[in-house]
Amino acid sequence: MKEFSVLIGGKAGDGIKQAGIMAAKIFGELGYRVFLYDDYPSLIRGGHNFCIIRASKEEVLSHNNQVDLILALNRETIERHQHRLKKGGEIIYSSRIEGVSRGVGIGFEEIVKELGGIPIMKNSAAIGALSALLGIERQVLDGVFEKNINKQLDLNKEIAGRAYAEIKEVLFKVERLDSEPLPLFTGNEAIALGAVNAGLDLYIAYPMTPATSILHFLAEQQDRLGVVTVHPENEISVATMALGAAYAGARTMVGTSGGGFALMTETVSFAGQAEIPILFVECQRAGPGTGVPTYTMQADLLFVLNSGHGDFPRLVVAPGDAEEAFYLSGLALDAAWHFQIPAFLLSDKHLSESIFSFTYPEGEREKPPMVAWKGGEGQYKRYAFTESGISPLAFPGQKGCIVKATSYEHDEYGITTEEPEKIMKMQDKRLKKKEGLVHFLEKTEQVKVYGDRDSKTCLVCWGSTKGACVEAALELGLKVVQPLVVEPFPERQFRQALGSSNRLIGVEVNATGQLSRLLSSYGIHMDSTILRYDSLPFTPDDLKGRLKEATS
């Protein structure tokens, strides 16, 4: 089998995500590339949770609506998702659910009870049964449990083993592949790791889905990764604390979703004026307002691009998968420090919380170094005029200099000024940095092209929509263009990527086609758009349907 998908569902509190991760790890262990989509409502108990694990011999960056297997811990799972089953698909279910027409019922709860476990351990039983039904060797199952479970490992293993033993017949055999297993990371973990790889010292955040897991991950791993995490009183404090830390020399990142970012915008502008490097991670969710907290949308692009009053250069990047997230968070942090500007990484629920088989970005990344003050003659000037507009950085505590940073318009030394000539000169100095930024970005891959490069029809997408878009396009023989950098907009690379395509279709998860609107301002017009804004991501199968409609 080239690929297969399993849906695991139950109620919130059943440990559905943990079960999904275990299944993904098992498939990963066998050499499959996996993608895990995690769907959960904004509540802690009750409600319906499910995840779809798609395993494939090839790279996989999205899930499909259709699945081969449903692993149901409650009736609702079957009722809600039965329609997704492919022909020949099967349901593995708790035998407490009565009246199921096909598949295999197993007494998950009974096994747990018999062995003295607690209710949530039925997900271990479910994973045991799933492994057996897929013909997966017992050692693989045990190995994954041993690597990933700390609490009550033996009991969980025993429960999984009992369920495994109850299965007499293999439904379909999942073969072991030749490929080496890959690590599995969420988009948020990849963002965090990319930043740490670029020397992140400090991560500051106030919890807000779907950014919260960056905070959880880095807080948990802080000693291992050599970072410090802080959770202050609100996002205003988060962002200004980060700026203070960066002024004193710490590479700092902050993360939030749209609502929290709204509170941070005063700092965006402050960072622009004071020329203090900072990386903002904005994990979008369905808005406006509190919106739909645990579901996805790409509707903050124009907000982030335009956030903060006044004119100043900024960098905005938008990764579409975990590998790009790792690459771009590092690049954005380095660029923020080289150019002394605010940088932004746009993610969304679908990228942030989905799990990917992680591969390293190929080749060496460009690493612009910090421009450090080297001491020497004369007084240190924090905002010294230079050819590039970049003033050498020094930090308080450093010998022989006084570092004056300020939110007011200022002279080279950092003293407030209201003189028109000085004001204009300092504005020009800051804006000058954009030229260097553009020049630097030219050396990097800013726009990606996939699919049939000669296709006249080209899909234009950004962020997590890339996964579904590329897959659908490959099957339909179309081309896809995806900008990784949206500001400064890589117009030349983008036009080159479009090439001779003359039918442009914007594909976005928002209601108004925000990237399409941005592109119009550069004179690049979409012929049509395919938009989804029901808070769910595109899947290749549904997108193919909409593309066929659109191109027929």
Partner: protein, 287 residues
């Protein structure tokens, strides 16, 4: 080592003649010179300010400074001191700044016991925006946004920070420069969050010189400044910021030792000296 004169800058001073900020500026400079004589390094001092008349002080003192946004004095100061705990961070905020726009930060900085010093230039009016009422203006204060008189009662900032958990709480008066200088030195050497509320007449919009001169008195040795919270609260309540028939104590109200935020967060590994960001090893282990 810098002298008072060397601590000045070329910035033109734009405070109104008679402004209480001059007294605070002099006290700060004197305190710094004394601290330098005691071995503190000038490059290790960072002044942080909000926005308002008070905040101009950072332009007038030749040390490292972070001229922040209105209300945002304490979070960046926390960031600075987390980044480099060896720095001496002295914050300047207005009453609008500290008790209005940034009040959440004040409560939390006290709660965390961040090892920094906050000097509030409390003129009980918005100076820079030309005379509106603030959280410490008396009830009935006729400011430009309240021509019929402030409809609100003032808060008592000392009581507020005491209940929030500040470990050093003091009040000074810009008219008593020597006393204020000593408070600043005590605050700076205190390990933990030092809160110094300074009564500062605004010559132009709320001239309180004679009001304070008639009422302010210095706490005697032993009258406060211990870890007796009840005593500190009762001293703080002697004047409600509203009453006219009270005497107003200045001095150290409260002092206590408690682990600082920096110590709790960083342990023995200062942020900028941490080693071993082995991302690739981490990823390898994750397989």
């Amino acid at each position: 080592m810098r002298s008072i004169k060397e601590l000045g800058t070329y910035a033109e001073n734009t405070w109104c003649p008679g402004c209480g900020n001059f007294g605070i500026l002099t006290a700060v400079k004197k305190a710094l010179v004394e601290a330098f004589e005691g071995g503190m390094k000038a490059e290790d001092v960072v002044m942080v300010s909000g926005i308002g008349c008070h905040a101009k002080i950072v332009d007038y003192v030749n040390v490292n400074s972070f001229y922040s946004l209105h209300g945002r004095v304490l979070p960046p100061a926390t960031g600075i001191s987390l980044s480099n705990p060896e720095l001496t961070v002295i914050c300047h905020a207005g009453d609008g700044d500290a008790y209005g726009e940034g009040i959440a930060h004040l409560i939390f900085t006290a709660k965390r016991n961040v090892d920094i010093t906050l000097i509030v230039h409390d003129n009980r009016v918005y100076g820079l925006t030309t005379g509106q009422f603030t959280p410490t203006s008396p009830e009935g204060f006729k400011g430009r946004s309240t021509p019929k008189g402030s409809p609100e009662r003032p808060i008592n900032p000392l009581e507020l920070v005491l209940s929030a958990g500040a470990t050093f709480v003091a009040r000074g008066y810009s008219g008593k420069i020597g006393h204020l200088k000593n408070l600043i030195l005590e605050g700076v050497s205190h390990r933990g969050f030092s809160f110094i509320e300074v009564l500062q007449p605004c010559y132009t919009f709320f001239n309180t010189y004679s009001f304070y001169n008639e009422r302010v008195y210095e706490l005697e040795e032993g009258e406060g400044g211990t870890s007796d919270r009840n005593l500190a609260v009762s001293l703080a309540r002697k004047w409600s910021y509203d009453s006219v028939d009270a005497s107003i104590p200045i001095g150290i109200f409260y002092k206590e030792q408690r682990p600082t935020f920096q110590e709790r967060i960083l342990g023995d590994r200062p942020l900028l000296k941490r080693k071993g960001q082995d991302v690739f090893g981490f990823i390898k282990e994750a397989v």
